[in-house]
């Protein structure tokens, strides 16, 4: 009994001692922070970022204090404290790499846990993700676009790459604001934040809601499209089996179920890497086959004029295949060195442009007037079977990226703690997903399956929504937000580009919308006649 009381007293004394030392350290840090501020105004000593570091120490010290009094055992407190610090730090977005390792007592542990919780991706991994988004399934329709557009189609492929690279960069530029020192600081985190900031004075939440809805529609439709495409390709590859397209779609969904367990962008980047490799193999196979028939190339068939009736659809295919802007804010936010973002954008778009242009031109030259809507229909059956299998693999591997992005958008907008959103948080305190959160993710996967199976003419419907949401999110909104937020800093040629992109994007969107509606009405009439 006496030893028990003595141990309790000694515990309390040691706790008190540590709390005193923590508090004094916190006070000192706070003092330094304040001094740091003043120092900045006096000399050019401490920049804003360094002040941030000191403030971080201060808060870390306070948190350590709180947790030590709550928890008798120290180990759990340290870990969770580090975790909480890393999470609470998200509001202090800095350009450097995560929490500085030397700042706190359990700095090493905190760093590790921050890395486990939200690991940062390298520029290469961000590049794979962007490539996954811009080199999609629509590359198979490009030779058909050249059939109807000739040289203009080729020019459009290059031009669209340039424009989309530019809009991606200005979108990310909207995330940053200049502080008093002229340094760029990341004040906004996502597309929704940018939209809210633009509509700030009168409608503080309207812009965010519009962008949310557009993003969710675009992402979910992309996921559904991948399920439809994989079902269709498998059905066409094995017509002798009694398995219908619906059955193949269900099998594909069963294979995609593990996507519900995705936690961070690093895992998604691995899938994107495999997807890019599959795409590369497809390109190599088709180009090699076309090169083997190089003697028969019809150079004189490439037209200078346009087929006015059919080309607008091709415009849609070419232009909307470069849509990666939805993923850019979260990609850039998770990069270890965000300064490499511009370089990554340039290289991915150049690579996409070259590969797409080469593929479209070479395939068109091989088959000229006989080029079909999907180039795999032109291939001989053995190569077609192999290419089909790789296409199915590509479709399945492309699914995680839009799925993860959709889950992120939904969680941020609908599932937040503290009454910020309608539903409670999907994650537990230790960062793991709750069971019902997992069931919601599985529900989203099943929803994409049901839409893929029961909605007829899905490709046309996707063209319809894509011309609205895709064009909006890729051309109209970035230029609009760029003009609104950074008006004072723009040079005249930036303004000119933004306005031009807005106008061109509007025209593409309207023409795509009209043609998709026409196509849908015709398909509906044909069905009714049948």
């Amino acid at each position: 009994m006496a030893t028990l009381i003595r141990s309790k007293i000694s515990n309390k004394l040691s706790n008190a001692a540590t709390s005193v030392s923590n508090k004094s350290q916190a006070k000192v840090s706070g003092m330094f922070a304040r001094m740091g501020f003043q120092a900045a105004t006096d000399e050019e000593g401490l920049g804003f970022v360094a002040c941030d570091d000191l403030d971080y120490d201060h808060r870390q010290g306070l948190q350590m204090d709180i947790l030590k009094t709550d928890e008798v055992g120290g180990e759990g407190g340290g870990e969770i404290g580090g975790d909480g610090a890393a999470e609470g730090d998200s509001h202090y977005q800095r350009d450097s790499t995560g929490p500085p390792p030397s700042s706190s007592k359990d700095g090493g542990v905190c760093d590790e846990l921050a890395a486990q919780d939200k690991p940062q991706i390298t520029a290469w991994e961000a590049g794979w993700n962007v490539t996954n988004a811009i080199q999609g399934m629509f590359v198979l329709g490009l030779p058909y676009a050249i059939l109807h557009g000739g040289y203009l189609g080729l020019f459009l492929i290059i031009f669209a790459a340039v424009v989309c690279c530019y809009t991606g960069k200005i979108l990310i530029a909207c995330l940053y604001e200049e502080n008093e020192d002229g340094e760029l600081v990341r004040v906004r985190d996502s597309y929704v934040d940018i939209a809210n900031a633009c509509c700030a004075p009168r409608f503080p939440a309207l812009g965010g809601h519009v962008v949310n809805v557009a993003q969710i529609i675009e992402l979910v439709m992309t996921c559904i499209l991948y399920v439809v495409v994989s079902g269709n390709l498998m059905y066409n590859s094995f017509p002798t089996l009694p398995v219908s397209q619906k059955s193949w779609a269900i099998i594909a969904t069963a294979a995609l179920l593990p996507c519900a367990f995705l936690k961070n962008l690093k895992a998604v980047s691995k899938f994107s890497l495999l997807c890019t490799m599959a795409h590369f193999v497809i390109n190599v196979l088709v180009i090699a086959y076309c090169l083997s028939r190089a003697r028969d190339w019809a150079w004189d068939k490439v037209k200078f004029y346009i087929d006015v009736k059919k080309f607008p659809i091709s415009i849609g295919i070419i232009v909307f295949s470069y849509t990666s802007q939805i993923f850019l804010p979260s990609l850039e936010g998770n990069m270890q060195k965000p300064s490499e973002f511009h370089c990554m954008m340039n290289w991915t778009h150049i690579a996409a442009c070259i590969l797409k242009g080469l593929f479209a031109l070479v395939a068109y030259l091989t088959w000229a007037d006989a080029t079909k809507e999907v180039i795999t229909d032109n291939l001989p059956s053995t190569i077609r079977a192999v290419v089909n299998l790789f296409l199915v693999a590509k479709a399945l591997l492309s699914y995680p990226l839009p799925f993860f992005a959709a889950v992120e958008v939904l969680e941020k907008s609908l599932f937040q703690d503290g009454g910020r959103a309608i539903f409670p948080d999907c994650y537990r305190g230790d960062g793991r997903l709750k069971a019902w959160g997992l069931s919601l993710r599985c529900g989203l996967v099943v929803f994409t399956l049901l839409m893929a199976v029961f909605v007829p003419h899905f490709a046309l419907l996707m063209g319809l929504t894509g011309s609205l949401t895709g064009a909006g999110l890729c051309f109209l909104l970035p230029s609009l937000f760029h003009l609104k937020l950074l008006w004072r800093k723009l040079l005249w040629h930036h303004v000119f580009f933004d306005v031009a992109i807005f106008v061109i994007g509007g025209i593409c969107s309207i023409s795509g919308f009209i043609h998709s509606m026409e196509g849908l009405v015709e398909a509906y009439k044909y069905n009714l006649h049948d």
């Binding site: 759990g76 909480g84 009694p242």
Partner: protein, 348 residues
């Protein structure tokens, strides 16, 4: 009532060839009311007629039993028998006309028709299908020298004349319309491999189509009009185990070679149910043997359901395993990730 209704124009009558069933049934004179169907004066030969006779015979047998039960007077005399037969044939034709019309109205396929051959008072061959013929024929071109091949699409009209012959190992049915301008024949044969093992099968052995290109409704400006015959060569189709009827919804196509310069006539049968042998009861098909295409389609339709159930089970198992895993490994206190909720844990 016009004479044609009482005495049919068609001389060939399935019952005339075979022993009339009247002999076994005594003539019955009874009074009952019926409403004459005056609105419908269309002659429905062939199909209606065989059905009529069948219904008449059946009606007579039934009424025989009924009358015996309620005790009508029965008269035995040949003259009365004949009068009664005529009387009943009128009545039953009227009823059967209604029945045949209803039958065609029930089927959703307008081309589908039923063909029955009766012998000895029972049905011996029943065939139900929709058929379309694609017959190529020559037409003189505008320059007056060349010959162009045109295609005529012919369907079986209602009320075609049916003839048939049944046997133990062979059966045939002959359908003719437009005054024998077109005659369609199906020949069935039953093969007995090993009577003890029950490997008997029946199948179509020959299909024949006789057509006359001088017939104006389908053949427009045919060159050298005349009668031609298109037959099959070494055909073995619709193979079915003996004692069962053949059923197939999916369309089946046969090509017949015509005597008109060896042109190919395409016969496309769909919505088929045929039984040429071993019909046990009147107008009833034996258990059906489904064709392979139909079986595949059934499997194709069943598979998504099975896979969907498997997927659902998979999801449920995954969720419960994850839930249990969380329960097992959670021994640390949950701290909220949002700093604003720290106030809940501040206890001092």
């Amino acid at each position: 009532m016009p004479r044609s209704e009482t005495f049919p124009r068609v001389q060939r009558h399935a019952q005339i060839g075979s022993k009339p069933s009247i002999d076994s049934i005594s003539a019955i004179k009874c009074e009952f009311d019926f409403q004459l169907k005056t609105a419908n004066t269309r002659m429905r030969a062939g199909c209606g007629l065989t059905y009529t006779c069948a219904v008449a015979a059946f009606a007579m047998w039934q009424s025989d039993v009924m009358m015996k039960l309620i005790g009508c007077r029965t008269l035995d005399s040949a003259r009365l028998q004949r009068l009664a037969f005529v009387f009943f044939s009128i009545l039953s034709r009227i009823l059967a006309e209604q029945e045949v019309e209803n039958l065609s109205g029930l089927s959703p396929n307008p081309d589908k028709d039923i063909f029955v051959v009766r012998e000895n008072g029972t049905t011996c061959l029943m065939a139900e299908f929709a058929v379309r013929f694609l017959v190529p024929y020559d037409v003189l071109a505008l320059n007056g020298i060349d010959l162009i091949t045109e295609q005529a699409s012919i369907a079986l009209p209602r009320g075609a004349e049916i003839e048939g012959k049944c046997g133990n190992a062979e059966a045939e049915v002959q359908i003719s319309w437009i005054n024998d301008a077109y005659v369609f024949r199906l020949f069935f044969v039953k093969e007995v491999h090993d009577s003890s093992k029950g490997n008997d099968i029946w199948k179509i052995s020959k299909v024949q189509l006789l057509y006359d290109t001088s017939e104006k409704t389908h053949f427009i400006n045919a060159y050298n009009p005349g009668k031609h015959t298109a037959s099959s060569h070494r055909l073995s189709a619709l193979v079915t185990p003996a004692g069962q009827s053949y059923e197939c919804q999916a369309p089946q196509t046969l090509t017949l070679i015509s005597t008109d310069h060896q042109k190919g006539v395409t016969v496309s049968l769909s919505d088929i149910q045929i039984q040429p042998f071993d019909i046990t009861s009147d107008f009833t098909f034996s258990p059906a043997y489904k064709c392979i295409t139909d079986q595949r389609e059934q499997l194709e339709e069943l598979l998504p359901l099975i896979l969907g159930i498997v997927l659902g089970l998979l999801i449920v198992i995954t969720l419960s395993v994850y839930h249990l895993h969380l329960k097992m490994t959670a021994h640390q206190p949950q701290l909220p990730r949002d700093r604003s909720l720290y106030k809940n844990i501040l206890q001092f």
